[in-house]
């Protein structure tokens, strides 16, 4: 009985993992439940036992990605306490993209881009993920400012919006061009901009 429960959880997680990969690779619209069932080697009955609908599954995938980003257990360290951490934060996304030969964008942004007016639940999920990332970024800028290391005129929230926008746009551009250079160039410019808010740019290196 107990092992069945454990097996069930393993199956559920396997479906989520496979779905996350397919959504990242080809988007949510192009991915059918049947494809996920095939790729995860799950029974149809089992699949619909765990997930009532495709939307429910996308929601679970986004929840899992949110947790990984919040707890910093995924591909990127989201605990940012220094300028170097910020640089590594950007670099982790580029590394992820390169690992797919620049054929994919950001897993979160790819889904976000596909959402339309009817997708309120999923839009809320993506928005929450961006908010979590923005909070982590602005927390760093606030800390720097409190310690007198950031210009008083710097607006932490705007800086965080700028971080997410440059990251998302750069990755989209990289996917379109299948080229890491515009991504790296854009993020380098973004970092230059952010670092210039530091009262001592030398120390911010």
């Amino acid at each position: 009985m107990r092992s069945r429960k454990v097996n069930g959880e393993t199956t559920r997680l396997r479906i989520i993992r496979v779905a996350a990969d397919l959504f990242h690779k080809q988007g949510i619209r192009a991915t059918s439940p049947d494809q996920i069932i095939d790729a995860s080697a799950t029974g149809k009955g089992q699949f619909y036992h765990y997930f009532k609908s495709k939307e429910g599954l996308i929601h679970e995938v986004l929840q899992a990605q949110m947790e990984a980003l919040r707890m910093s257990t995924g591909f990127v360290n989201t605990e940012i306490n220094s300028w170097q951490h910020l640089e590594h934060f950007y670099a982790a996304f580029v590394k992820l993209q390169k690992s797919f030969n620049m054929s994919r964008g950001c897993p979160i942004g790819t889904v976000g881009n596909e959402l339309n007016e009817g997708d309120e639940l999923l839009r809320n999920d993506v928005n929450l993920i961006f908010e979590i990332l923005k909070n982590k970024l602005s927390a760093f800028f606030i800390k720097e400012k409190a310690q007198g290391r950031l210009s008083a005129e710097a607006d932490e929230n705007r800086m965080a919006d700028f971080c997410i926008a440059t990251l998302q746009g750069a990755m989209l551009l990289g996917k379109i061009k299948r080229d890491a250079r515009p991504v790296e160039a854009t993020l380098k410019e973004a970092l230059l901009h952010l670092r210039r808010y530091a009262t001592n740019p030398e120390a911010a290196k």
Partner: protein, 227 residues
């Protein structure tokens, strides 16, 4: 008879293209079926397939019309930039365009570009062409400024153009996801601040820096660069 009929046919073709472009922008290419386009454009099924053999060809034609619009500067957003004011307008008009759709849509080109997966090389090539035209128009401005000595010498115009296109795309995605123009505008204003910090002092006319919440000179590290 012949004339009226071919005129009708031309307008049907244009109507299909317009409707398809709008639906692709609204919900993406994948989520849009020929059936939906036929219904929304009010053409007959036969007529639709006479003009476009399949959806792929229609997507290609829509993207070609986008390319022409950007090339000829007839897109909702102007890419022909010849002054810093134009550049500011370039950034802000993207967000303004988004507001027209109550922040429910992103950039039409970015939305389709996001869907260009491994199997979709044709779409991706079309999008690449559009992005390259955008970039070259922006780079032209930076080259001109550099030539006039109004931009730092060591700058790479192409890199600045990449930065512009990327930031605008990311800002619009942020705006769409949050249904709010504020973060999108915040992001593009930071981008503008960054670009203007590369300008030599005299090139940005006073009063034309309205986009900056504060005067450029009050900025800690940026003034060093601008000198």
């Amino acid at each position: 008879m012949q004339d009226a009929r071919s005129l009708c046919s031309v307008s049907a073709r244009i109507r299909i293209l317009r409707t398809a472009a709008d639906l692709f922008h609204k919900q993406g290419v994948r989520a849009t079926t020929p059936g939906e386009i036929i219904k929304a454009s009010g053409v007959g099924k036969g007529q639709f397939y006479r003009h476009f053999k399949n959806k792929d060809i229609l997507v290609h034609e829509v993207l070609r019309s986008f390319l022409e619009a950007v090339k000829k500067d007839k897109a909702p957003v102007r890419y022909d930039v010849t002054s810093w004011q134009d550049l500011e307008n370039f950034f802000l008009s993207h967000i303004e365009f988004q507001r027209k759709f109550s922040m429910t849509r992103s950039c039409p080109i970015g939305t389709v570009g996001n869907e260009a997966n491994e199997g979709n090389d044709k779409i991706r090539e079309d999008i690449c062409l559009i992005v390259d035209v955008m970039k070259s128009k922006l780079a032209t401005f930076f080259v001109a400024e550099k030539t006039k000595g109004r931009l730092q010498k060591d700058l790479e115009p192409k890199v600045l153009a990449d930065f512009c296109v990327a930031t605008v795309q990311g800002a619009m995605l942020l705006g769409k996801v949050s249904r709010n123009s504020r973060p999108a505008e915040a992001a593009v204003r930071e981008a503008l601040l960054h670009l203007k910090s590369y300008a030599t002092h005299s090139s940005i006319e006073p009063g034309k820096c309205q986009s900056n919440r504060r005067p450029e000179t009050s900025r800690a590290g940026h003034q060093e660069i601008a000198r």
